[in-house]
Symmetry: C2
Subunit: 128 residues, 2 copies
């Protein structure tokens, strides 16, 4: 079964789920190189669209994602990686999950989770 | 907070998670119309890239996805919808989740879940 990297210009949307809690932590994109690096290191790598390069999740924060299980969907155009998330959270805004905002019916987004770490402590002063 | 529909030509990758079990069921794409239809009906709609049109999940099978919670990620370029999944499964191949194949280290994919319904019974004879 060939992964459908061609559908989105070489990228496949990849869901990261905490293996123990079941919480969906983030969504990123893998290209073939990122998938290879992920399998070889057992730590999640993505292709960063904004920086246009391979990106190991946690390379700055230390909050790496240890691979426990890799699934592909029926059309082989989406990946699900179940992980052990090292550290207090994956989100650069200081939350366990990047999906910490609830979208209301009126289109407004409100924070629905507790912050779990200090952004300044982890990413340095002046970090967003 | 504006959703970043512009990043991917009007589409936002959307993760569907079973609210009770935590299982990740599928990944689809929403455009603004699909998100609006989802909010108005409380049933998940996607934009079908292959058919190039709005698509209500379950319109053929009856296996609709009832919206329980909608989250957006920190960059507002991914959506997570927690749902009550009506029926025995969301996958057109007869499984509870579309992520029923495990990807091995050698790149081979093997079925890792039990089939939960007959594709022929639900989608009709000759259906894939």
């Amino acid at each position: 079964m060939e992964l459908a990297f061609g559908k989105m210009g070489g990228l496949i949307p990849t869901v990261i789920q905490d293996e123990r809690s079941g919480e969906v932590l983030m969504l990123g994109f893998m290209n073939e190189e990122a998938l290879r690096a992920t399998r070889e290191s057992d730590e999640v790598h993505f292709f960063s669209r904004s920086r246009n390069k391979l990106w190991k999740k946690g390379e700055t924060s230390g909050h790496v994602l240890k691979v426990k299980d890799v699934r592909i969907d029926c059309d082989a155009d989406a990946i699900l990686v179940r992980v052990e998330a090292i550290g207090p959270g994956v989100c650069h805004e200081g939350y366990r999950t990047c999906f910490f905002r609830r979208l209301g019916r009126d289109g407004t987004a409100v924070v629905a989770e507790e912050q779990t770490f200090s952004v300044e402590d982890v990413y340095g002063k002046g970090a967003e």
